[in-house]
């Protein structure tokens, strides 16, 4: 028995060709929002399906809310709200029918809470699910995960398919859940998605935990490509000395560089010119991993050709 919300030790799951987990150690504290981040195929969904008892571990230990999923699945799932990577339901029913059914399976949920969430997210529960957009279907998924105010929320890529306004609403819901003392375990292949909500972020890669960091530390470490378009010509030399900035290049009045950590120094240097446009790319997860392997951004090799940025 442990006091942790989720705890795994040397968790191994082998299946398929080379999917699965290869000795994952995971510690999610009660009451925290834990962002579980890694490239596609790293083992995020596998971990979540093990937590939900949809998969059985090959070896290792896994405890969720002090219980073993493979043994106490039913009582455990009573305390969990789950949103899978694909929220697929029979499209011939209305949202109200689906949520009423799921609420009954949980032994009842106040109708006012369901209606409140539907109103907040702006989804019409009277409509046939088949006639809803992908985003509106995803809202039903969010509602069913949150509606019974579970001790633990397990969310697999929850904001995929939600437009930016709703992502903001979702961030608010996660913050409120945290304020109520609920634990949130959410995965993403895009760091910024969990960065806004998480207290700590765990990086998984090839079925192993690479690093676990408080989210502020990540913000400091993040390396991103920045492009700034100026009204007047600028010189590369002027920016090369700015702290945190490297690989400076100027072409056609556009500054290209890499920014490591805080943006403050760069912005102050920019402010003496007239900036027309600013583009900052999503920090690349691969690059962020490499900073852990090598200790500092200066030794980070240039991103490989084709290295992919989350969208």
């Amino acid at each position: 028995m442990s006091d942790l919300a989720i705890r795994s030790e040397n968790l191994v799951k082998r299946y398929g060709r080379d999917r699965g987990l290869d000795g994952l150690d995971l510690e999610v504290r009660p009451g925290e929002v834990y962002g579980f981040v890694g490239p596609n195929g790293a083992g995020k969904t596998t971990t979540i399906r093990l937590v939900m008892d949809l998969l059985h571990p090959t070896s290792g230990r896994l405890e969720v809310l002090g219980l073993v999923p493979a043994r106490d699945g039913v009582s455990l799932r009573r305390r969990i709200g789950y949103l899978g990577g694909d929220f697929i339901v029979n499209g011939r029913q209305s949202g109200a029918e689906l949520l009423g059914y799921l609420a009954h399976l949980r032994g009842g949920v106040p109708v006012a809470r369901i209606d409140g969430l539907a109103e907040r997210l702006g989804v019409d529960l009277g409509r046939r699910i088949r006639s809803l957009s992908k985003g509106n279907r995803q809202k039903l998924g969010v509602i069913q995960a949150f509606m019974h105010e579970p001790d633990l929320l397990v969310l697999d890529e929850p904001t995929s398919g939600l437009d930016p306004l709703l992502q903001q609403e979702f961030v608010g819901m996660v913050a409120e859940a945290r304020a109520r003392g609920q634990t949130v375990f959410m995965s993403s292949h895009v760091l910024s998605e969990v960065q806004r909500t998480a207290d700590r972020v765990g990086f998984v890669r090839e079925g192993r935990m690479v690093a676990v960091e408080p989210v502020e530390t990540l913000r400091e470490r993040a390396v991103r490509r920045v492009e700034i378009q100026f009204a007047d010509p600028v010189s590369a030399a002027e920016f090369a000395t700015v702290p945190g900035v490297s690989e400076v290049m100027v072409a056609d009045g556009v500054l290209h560089c890499r920014l490591h950590g805080r943006a403050d120094a760069l912005l102050k240097a920019v402010s003496s010119h007239t900036a027309l446009n600013l583009l900052a790319e999503e920090p690349d997860l691969e690059e962020l991993f490499l900073t852990y392997y090598h200790g500092s951004a200066e030794t980070v090799p240039a991103p490989r050709a084709g290295a992919h940025h989350g969208s």
Binding site: D86, I88, A96, R127
Partner: protein, 278 residues
């Protein structure tokens, strides 16, 4: 009953209380279709009886090779019980019921799993055993609805179609044995689907069992060394005792029921032990 709101049928709150009733509600239209088809087959073949029951037709039937008639279970076309037992219950009715229960058995676990809708259900505080058993119970309830409809239509049409000598109890006996037979075949499909999560395998294996079992009842036994195969086929447990003539055959019912219980149990057990949706 359903309340229409903006063209969307609203399920009564009561049907969303269990997996069984929710699944039945979702399948209501398809169930009406199956009921009309199978009861319709019963009515249609019954209506042909007066044309079968003529000297010309009986002579024509007698001219067919005995082996062929045996293969079709058309061994007694001279009495209403023989004709209805073969045509309605033994051949077309049985074929439709087998298609219905194989499809239902494959859908119960494997179909929903392949469609991706099983994940959400299993993420709720329900055991896999409960999910599997309620899903199988759906097939049993649906088949009972169909068989009660067939029973009613046979009783109604019996007089006008001059089907003398078959009692309501004998129609019920044939219907019960057909129900148990359908569930036994459906449990093959259910068990393979629950154990593997593959709808295709469920349908293939169950269809192979149904067809082989059919041949073992009417064709293989014509070849002396294979006479024993008739004793181990569910088709014989259904038709061999001629329930429409002799009433309910408790031994045969027991065999069909045992087959169902064992296969549903094995399938459910395998389902609780494996990974979902891999």
């Amino acid at each position: 009953m359903a309340v229409e709101t903006l063209g969307v049928p609203r399920a009564p709150d009561a049907v969303t209380r269990t997996i069984l009733t929710k699944t039945l509600w979702e399948a209501r239209r398809s169930l009406i279709g199956w009921t009309l088809s199978i009861a319709g087959v019963g009515a249609m073949y019954s209506a042909f009886w007066p044309t079968i029951d003529t000297p010309e037709m009986q002579q024509a039937m007698a001219a067919y090779p005995k082996a062929l008639l045996e293969a079709m279970s058309y061994t007694d076309m001279a009495s209403p019980a023989g004709y209805i037992g073969s045509a309605v219950y033994g051949l077309l009715g049985a074929a439709l019921v087998v298609v219905f229960t194989i499809a239902g058995g494959a859908r119960a676990v494997a179909g929903d799993e392949e469609d991706g809708v099983l994940d959400l259900l299993l993420a709720h505080p329900v055991s896999r055993t409960r999910v599997a058993l309620e899903r199988f119970a759906v097939i049993a309830v649906e088949l009972m609805v169909i068989m009660i409809a067939l029973w009613l239509i046979m009783i109604v049409i019996s007089g006008p179609a001059q089907l003398e000598g078959i009692t309501a109890g004998e129609y019920a006996a044939a219907g019960i044995q057909l129900t148990l037979f359908g569930l036994a075949i459906g449990s093959v499909s259910f068990a393979v689907g629950a154990a593997t999560g593959r709808r295709g395998w469920a349908i293939s294996v169950a269809s192979a069992v149904a067809v082989t079992g059919y041949l073992a009842n009417g064709v293989f036994p014509q070849f002396e060394p294979l006479r024993w195969t008739r004793d181990v086929t569910p088709w014989n447990w259904f038709l061999g005792g001629a329930p429409l003539r002799n009433g309910l055959q408790m031994g045969d019912c027991g065999l069909l029921l045992a087959m169902t219980v064992v296969l549903v149990g094995l399938g459910t057990w395998a389902f609780t032990r494996r990974d979902i949706g891999v």
